[in-house]
Point group: C2
Chain length 195, copies 2
């Protein structure tokens, strides 16, 4: 998605540790017109997958998942990172390690909200090492739900998880694919050299 | 909003400690059609406030804020509860105490994302003791931004914060107003005895 690449080049900030800060439009402050464009693109890419549920992880995936859910007319479910009084006694859960924040946590969803009849589109802002997405896959597997696609705003190709998912036959669509990044340069993967 | 009251009566679960669990449609699993109805109602109620920014707090306010932002064409900003690499060195911050989870935390937004030209609609899923909303008010005050309204999905009137805000002249709109609740009963405040 050309728009996403342009937005990253214009507004993204590269921080130490391969962190790309996109808080100005994607994951703290949300440019609502741009979010609408993203959601339209995801809705187009996954239009034929019969999605019944858009699954993401709190917090920064929720806005994207909500916009996509509204476009697809599918309900939205977000996995929590902490047990609270709102999560039932025996939720589906999976361990996740965050390389960005160097912490381990669990992703959790109540058993009531995911079932074997669901066709799930997993959505998130970033895909790097794939830990969060793998955790969400695990929740779906536990519920017997079918993952019909994965939609990512920004993929860090150099971390490898995206290509691993593609090799496994997952229908993965990333709106921007970063092949490499350094303090002052971002190289995007082009469609024609992506496979 | 009659629809919200019906939804609460049909799907809400009352847990010990005056906790109303609405995870099945509002804050973990999101009924997307219902979210659209809610957003339309908020957009109608605040149509004349010239909202430039919809402000909420992670995580459960984000879906509502996103839907409202899409209807109003206003950007969405969510305050974070933890400092991460995505929050700049000197963000606006305010202390908040959560009675539900019995914990203290800070709400934070980067200075770049809130300014004195913003007309802010604060949105959240619940209003009880008003701690979170007061924290968001404080962030706006620090930024010199004007709060033009507060939109709440479910107000627990018996906690008192809503009436205090109304007495201060805040344009507060709650889609459902719970006057009292017990293990097996919920009493809603009716418009005609609300002021």
């Amino acid at each position: 998605m050309k728009l996403m690449e342009e937005k990253i080049l214009r507004e993204g900030q590269i921080l130490p540790g391969d962190i790309l800060k996109v808080g100005s439009f994607l994951n703290q402050n949300i440019d609502i017109d741009f979010l609408g464009d993203m959601a339209n693109e995801f809705a187009r890419l996954f239009a034929h997958e019969g999605v019944t549920k858009v699954l993401t992880i709190e917090a920064s995936g929720i806005a994207i998942a909500t916009a996509v859910g509204m476009k697809l007319g599918a309900s939205v479910l977000f996995a929590k990172k902490h047990r609270t009084s709102n999560v039932d006694g025996q939720p589906y859960s999976a361990p996740v390690h965050s390389f960005t924040h160097n912490e381990d946590y669990e992703v959790l969803v109540s058993r009531d909200y995911l079932s074997s009849t669901d066709r799930v589109l997993i959505v998130d802002d970033f895909l790097a090492n794939g830990q969060a997405v793998n955790g969400l896959f695990s929740l779906c597997e536990q519920a017997g739900a079918q993952v019909v696609g994965v939609g990512i705003a920004i993929e860090k190709c150099f971390s490898g998880a995206g290509d691993k998912l593609r090799a496994q036959g997952v229908h993965l669509e990333s709106l921007a694919m970063i092949e490499s990044m350094s303090e002052d340069n971002i190289v995007f993967r082009r469609e024609d050299n992506s496979r």
